[in-house]
Protein backbone atom coordinates (compact mmCIF):
# COMPACT_ATOMS: atom_id res chain seq x y z
CA UNK A 1 0.00 0.00 0.00
CA UNK A 2 0.99 3.61 -0.41
CA UNK A 3 1.85 5.45 2.78
CA UNK A 4 0.91 8.97 3.75
CA UNK A 5 4.54 10.10 3.72
CA UNK A 6 5.02 9.16 0.07
CA UNK A 7 2.16 11.47 -0.85
CA UNK A 8 3.46 14.27 1.36
CA UNK A 9 6.94 14.02 -0.16
CA UNK A 10 5.45 14.12 -3.65
CA UNK A 11 3.44 17.19 -2.74
CA UNK A 12 6.51 18.88 -1.21
CA UNK A 13 8.50 18.26 -4.40
CA UNK A 14 5.70 19.66 -6.55
CA UNK A 15 5.42 22.69 -4.30
CA UNK A 16 9.16 23.34 -4.55
CA UNK A 17 9.05 23.04 -8.35
CA UNK A 18 6.18 25.52 -8.48
CA UNK A 19 7.97 27.91 -6.14
CA UNK A 20 11.15 27.76 -8.20
CA UNK A 21 9.11 28.51 -11.31
CA UNK A 22 7.33 31.45 -9.69
CA UNK A 23 10.66 32.92 -8.58
CA UNK A 24 12.57 32.45 -11.84
CA UNK A 25 10.19 32.80 -14.79
CA UNK A 26 10.14 36.15 -16.58
CA UNK A 27 6.80 35.80 -18.33
CA UNK A 28 3.85 36.81 -16.13
CA UNK A 29 1.68 34.03 -17.61
CA UNK A 30 4.24 31.44 -16.58
CA UNK A 31 4.42 32.90 -13.08
CA UNK A 32 0.68 32.30 -12.81
CA UNK A 33 1.21 28.76 -14.12
CA UNK A 34 3.73 28.15 -11.33
CA UNK A 35 1.26 29.45 -8.74
CA UNK A 36 -1.32 26.96 -10.02
CA UNK A 37 1.20 24.17 -9.54
CA UNK A 38 1.74 25.22 -5.92
CA UNK A 39 -2.02 25.30 -5.28
CA UNK A 40 -2.38 21.82 -6.72
CA UNK A 41 0.40 20.55 -4.48
CA UNK A 42 -1.42 21.95 -1.46
CA UNK A 43 -4.68 20.33 -2.61
CA UNK A 44 -2.94 17.00 -2.87
CA UNK A 45 -2.02 17.34 0.81
CA UNK A 46 -5.63 17.96 1.83
CA UNK A 47 -6.81 14.85 0.02
CA UNK A 48 -3.89 12.76 1.33
CA UNK A 49 -4.60 13.68 4.97
CA UNK A 50 -8.31 13.03 4.49
CA UNK A 51 -7.57 9.61 2.99
CA UNK A 52 -5.23 8.74 5.86
CA UNK A 53 -7.55 9.89 8.65
CA UNK A 54 -10.94 9.68 6.97
CA UNK A 55 -12.64 11.68 9.68
CA UNK A 56 -15.26 14.06 8.34
CA UNK A 57 -15.11 15.53 4.87
CA UNK A 58 -13.01 18.58 5.69
CA UNK A 59 -10.21 17.56 3.30
CA UNK A 60 -12.25 17.24 0.09
CA UNK A 61 -14.32 20.30 0.98
CA UNK A 62 -11.22 22.40 1.57
CA UNK A 63 -9.82 21.12 -1.73
CA UNK A 64 -13.06 22.09 -3.42
CA UNK A 65 -12.88 25.64 -2.09
CA UNK A 66 -9.24 25.86 -3.12
CA UNK A 67 -10.33 24.95 -6.64
CA UNK A 68 -12.88 27.77 -6.59
CA UNK A 69 -10.27 30.25 -5.38
CA UNK A 70 -7.78 29.03 -7.99
CA UNK A 71 -10.33 29.54 -10.73
CA UNK A 72 -11.14 33.07 -9.56
CA UNK A 73 -7.47 33.88 -9.07
CA UNK A 74 -6.41 32.81 -12.54
CA UNK A 75 -9.33 34.65 -14.15
CA UNK A 76 -8.44 37.94 -12.46
CA UNK A 77 -4.69 37.33 -12.80
CA UNK A 78 -4.86 36.73 -16.53
CA UNK A 79 -7.16 39.73 -17.00
CA UNK A 80 -4.48 41.79 -15.25
CA UNK A 81 -1.80 40.32 -17.51
CA UNK A 82 -3.81 41.25 -20.59
CA UNK A 83 -4.42 44.78 -19.27
CA UNK A 84 -0.72 45.21 -18.49
CA UNK A 85 0.20 43.91 -21.91
CA UNK A 86 -2.06 46.52 -23.47
CA UNK A 87 -0.30 49.31 -21.60
CA UNK A 88 3.33 48.19 -21.71
CA UNK A 89 3.28 45.89 -24.79
CA UNK A 90 5.13 43.36 -22.65
CA UNK A 91 4.34 40.57 -20.21
CA UNK A 92 7.88 40.45 -18.81
CA UNK A 93 7.59 40.88 -15.05
CA UNK A 94 10.99 42.60 -15.09
CA UNK A 95 9.50 45.48 -17.08
CA UNK A 96 6.66 46.13 -14.68
CA UNK A 97 8.48 48.43 -12.29
CA UNK A 98 6.88 51.87 -12.45
CA UNK A 99 5.88 51.51 -8.78
CA UNK A 100 9.34 50.43 -7.54
CA UNK A 101 11.08 53.02 -5.36
Amino acid sequence: MISLNALLVLSAILFAVGLAGALTRKNAILVLVSIEIMMNAANLNFIAFWRAGMVELTGPLFALFTLVIAGAESAVGLALVIAIYRHLKSVDVGNIQSLSG
Binding site: L8, K26, N27, R51, L57, L67, S74, V76
Partner: protein, 171 residues
Protein backbone atom coordinates in the same frame (compact mmCIF):
# COMPACT_ATOMS: atom_id res chain seq x y z
CA UNK B 1 5.89 -3.83 -5.18
CA UNK B 2 2.15 -4.30 -5.68
CA UNK B 3 0.08 -2.77 -8.45
CA UNK B 4 -1.07 0.23 -6.37
CA UNK B 5 2.51 1.22 -5.61
CA UNK B 6 3.52 0.80 -9.23
CA UNK B 7 0.63 3.02 -10.28
CA UNK B 8 1.56 5.60 -7.68
CA UNK B 9 5.19 5.73 -8.81
CA UNK B 10 4.17 6.10 -12.47
CA UNK B 11 1.63 8.80 -11.67
CA UNK B 12 4.14 10.67 -9.52
CA UNK B 13 6.67 10.55 -12.34
CA UNK B 14 4.13 11.92 -14.82
CA UNK B 15 3.02 14.65 -12.41
CA UNK B 16 6.53 15.79 -11.57
CA UNK B 17 7.53 15.69 -15.24
CA UNK B 18 4.51 17.84 -16.06
CA UNK B 19 5.36 20.35 -13.35
CA UNK B 20 9.01 20.50 -14.43
CA UNK B 21 7.98 20.97 -18.04
CA UNK B 22 5.58 23.78 -17.18
CA UNK B 23 8.29 25.61 -15.26
CA UNK B 24 11.22 25.07 -17.65
CA UNK B 25 9.95 24.87 -21.25
CA UNK B 26 10.38 28.13 -23.17
CA UNK B 27 7.75 27.69 -25.86
CA UNK B 28 4.53 28.89 -24.18
CA UNK B 29 1.98 26.52 -25.77
CA UNK B 30 4.22 23.56 -24.99
CA UNK B 31 4.64 24.72 -21.40
CA UNK B 32 0.86 24.98 -21.20
CA UNK B 33 0.42 21.43 -22.47
CA UNK B 34 2.92 20.26 -19.92
CA UNK B 35 0.81 22.00 -17.27
CA UNK B 36 -2.26 20.14 -18.56
CA UNK B 37 -0.35 16.88 -18.16
CA UNK B 38 0.40 17.91 -14.58
CA UNK B 39 -3.30 18.66 -13.94
CA UNK B 40 -4.23 15.23 -15.28
CA UNK B 41 -1.60 13.61 -13.09
CA UNK B 42 -3.02 15.27 -9.99
CA UNK B 43 -6.57 14.35 -11.01
CA UNK B 44 -5.50 10.73 -11.46
CA UNK B 45 -3.90 10.81 -8.00
CA UNK B 46 -7.21 12.07 -6.58
CA UNK B 47 -8.99 9.19 -8.29
CA UNK B 48 -6.46 6.78 -6.82
CA UNK B 49 -7.14 8.19 -3.36
CA UNK B 50 -10.89 7.62 -3.90
CA UNK B 51 -11.72 11.32 -4.03
CA UNK B 52 -13.54 10.85 -7.35
CA UNK B 53 -15.62 13.98 -7.12
CA UNK B 54 -12.60 16.21 -6.48
CA UNK B 55 -10.79 14.49 -9.34
CA UNK B 56 -13.62 15.20 -11.74
CA UNK B 57 -13.90 18.81 -10.60
CA UNK B 58 -10.13 19.11 -10.99
CA UNK B 59 -10.35 18.09 -14.65
CA UNK B 60 -13.42 20.23 -15.26
CA UNK B 61 -12.04 23.37 -13.63
CA UNK B 62 -8.35 23.17 -14.45
CA UNK B 63 -8.30 21.50 -17.86
CA UNK B 64 -11.67 22.75 -19.03
CA UNK B 65 -11.49 26.32 -17.73
CA UNK B 66 -8.13 27.47 -16.31
CA UNK B 67 -6.06 25.98 -19.14
CA UNK B 68 -8.38 27.61 -21.66
CA UNK B 69 -7.96 30.93 -19.87
CA UNK B 70 -4.21 30.52 -20.27
CA UNK B 71 -4.77 29.80 -23.96
CA UNK B 72 -6.59 33.10 -24.32
CA UNK B 73 -3.88 34.95 -22.41
CA UNK B 74 -1.18 33.43 -24.63
CA UNK B 75 -3.00 34.37 -27.81
CA UNK B 76 -4.05 37.86 -26.67
CA UNK B 77 -0.55 38.84 -25.54
CA UNK B 78 1.11 37.45 -28.68
CA UNK B 79 3.49 35.91 -26.21
CA UNK B 80 5.28 33.91 -28.89
CA UNK B 81 7.06 37.08 -29.89
CA UNK B 82 8.08 37.94 -26.33
CA UNK B 83 11.29 36.97 -24.66
CA UNK B 84 10.19 34.04 -22.56
CA UNK B 85 13.45 32.15 -22.22
CA UNK B 86 14.78 31.38 -18.81
CA UNK B 87 17.99 33.08 -19.81
CA UNK B 88 21.33 33.04 -18.13
CA UNK B 89 21.64 32.08 -14.51
CA UNK B 90 21.79 35.59 -13.11
CA UNK B 91 22.21 35.81 -9.31
CA UNK B 92 18.53 36.53 -8.63
CA UNK B 93 17.52 33.36 -10.48
CA UNK B 94 20.08 31.24 -8.70
CA UNK B 95 18.77 32.66 -5.44
CA UNK B 96 15.21 31.80 -6.45
CA UNK B 97 16.07 28.21 -7.29
CA UNK B 98 18.12 27.89 -4.10
CA UNK B 99 15.28 29.30 -2.01
CA UNK B 100 12.78 26.90 -3.55
CA UNK B 101 15.18 24.01 -2.98
CA UNK B 102 15.58 24.99 0.68
CA UNK B 103 11.81 25.18 1.15
CA UNK B 104 11.34 21.81 -0.57
CA UNK B 105 14.13 20.19 1.44
CA UNK B 106 12.67 21.62 4.65
CA UNK B 107 9.22 20.24 3.88
CA UNK B 108 10.60 16.82 2.95
CA UNK B 109 12.77 16.83 6.07
CA UNK B 110 9.78 17.50 8.32
CA UNK B 111 7.72 14.83 6.57
CA UNK B 112 10.43 12.19 6.84
CA UNK B 113 10.86 12.81 10.56
CA UNK B 114 7.20 12.14 11.40
CA UNK B 115 5.90 8.62 11.93
CA UNK B 116 4.57 7.13 8.75
CA UNK B 117 0.92 6.11 8.48
CA UNK B 118 -0.15 3.60 5.83
CA UNK B 119 -3.38 4.60 4.12
CA UNK B 120 -6.37 2.55 5.31
CA UNK B 121 -7.04 -0.36 3.01
CA UNK B 122 -10.81 0.15 3.15
CA UNK B 123 -11.85 2.66 0.55
CA UNK B 124 -14.32 5.32 1.68
CA UNK B 125 -17.66 4.71 0.04
CA UNK B 126 -19.08 7.24 -2.43
CA UNK B 127 -17.94 10.68 -1.33
CA UNK B 128 -20.09 12.56 -3.83
CA UNK B 129 -23.41 12.50 -1.97
CA UNK B 130 -21.89 13.37 1.45
CA UNK B 131 -19.99 16.29 -0.11
CA UNK B 132 -23.18 17.59 -1.67
CA UNK B 133 -24.99 17.29 1.63
CA UNK B 134 -22.21 19.01 3.58
CA UNK B 135 -22.16 21.88 1.09
CA UNK B 136 -25.88 22.44 1.58
CA UNK B 137 -25.89 22.19 5.40
CA UNK B 138 -22.78 22.79 7.45
CA UNK B 139 -20.75 24.54 4.77
CA UNK B 140 -23.59 26.56 3.30
CA UNK B 141 -22.09 29.93 4.24
CA UNK B 142 -18.64 29.23 2.72
CA UNK B 143 -20.43 27.86 -0.34
CA UNK B 144 -22.44 31.07 -0.74
CA UNK B 145 -19.36 33.21 -0.16
CA UNK B 146 -17.51 31.21 -2.80
CA UNK B 147 -20.26 31.89 -5.31
CA UNK B 148 -20.20 35.61 -4.50
CA UNK B 149 -16.43 35.54 -4.91
CA UNK B 150 -16.73 33.85 -8.30
CA UNK B 151 -19.27 36.41 -9.46
CA UNK B 152 -17.02 39.24 -8.28
CA UNK B 153 -14.03 37.66 -10.03
CA UNK B 154 -16.06 37.27 -13.23
CA UNK B 155 -17.16 40.89 -13.26
CA UNK B 156 -13.72 42.07 -12.16
CA UNK B 157 -11.97 40.15 -14.90
CA UNK B 158 -14.29 41.61 -17.53
CA UNK B 159 -13.82 45.14 -16.22
CA UNK B 160 -10.03 44.84 -16.06
CA UNK B 161 -9.62 43.23 -19.46
CA UNK B 162 -12.11 45.50 -21.22
CA UNK B 163 -10.51 48.14 -23.44
CA UNK B 164 -11.13 51.72 -22.38
CA UNK B 165 -13.48 53.63 -24.63
CA UNK B 166 -10.75 56.01 -25.76
CA UNK B 167 -8.40 53.26 -26.84
CA UNK B 168 -11.12 51.53 -28.77
CA UNK B 169 -11.90 54.68 -30.72
CA UNK B 170 -8.28 55.26 -31.61
CA UNK B 171 -7.71 51.62 -32.57
Amino acid sequence: MDIAQLGFVLLSAVTIAGALGATTINDLPRALLSLVLFFFGVAALFFMLHAEFIGVVQVLVYVGAVAVLFVFAIVLTRARLQATEIGRLVPSRVLGILGAAVVGAGLVGVVVRTTDVPLPAVAPLGTTAPIGEALMTRYLLPFEIASVLLTAALIGAVVIALEDGEQRRSA
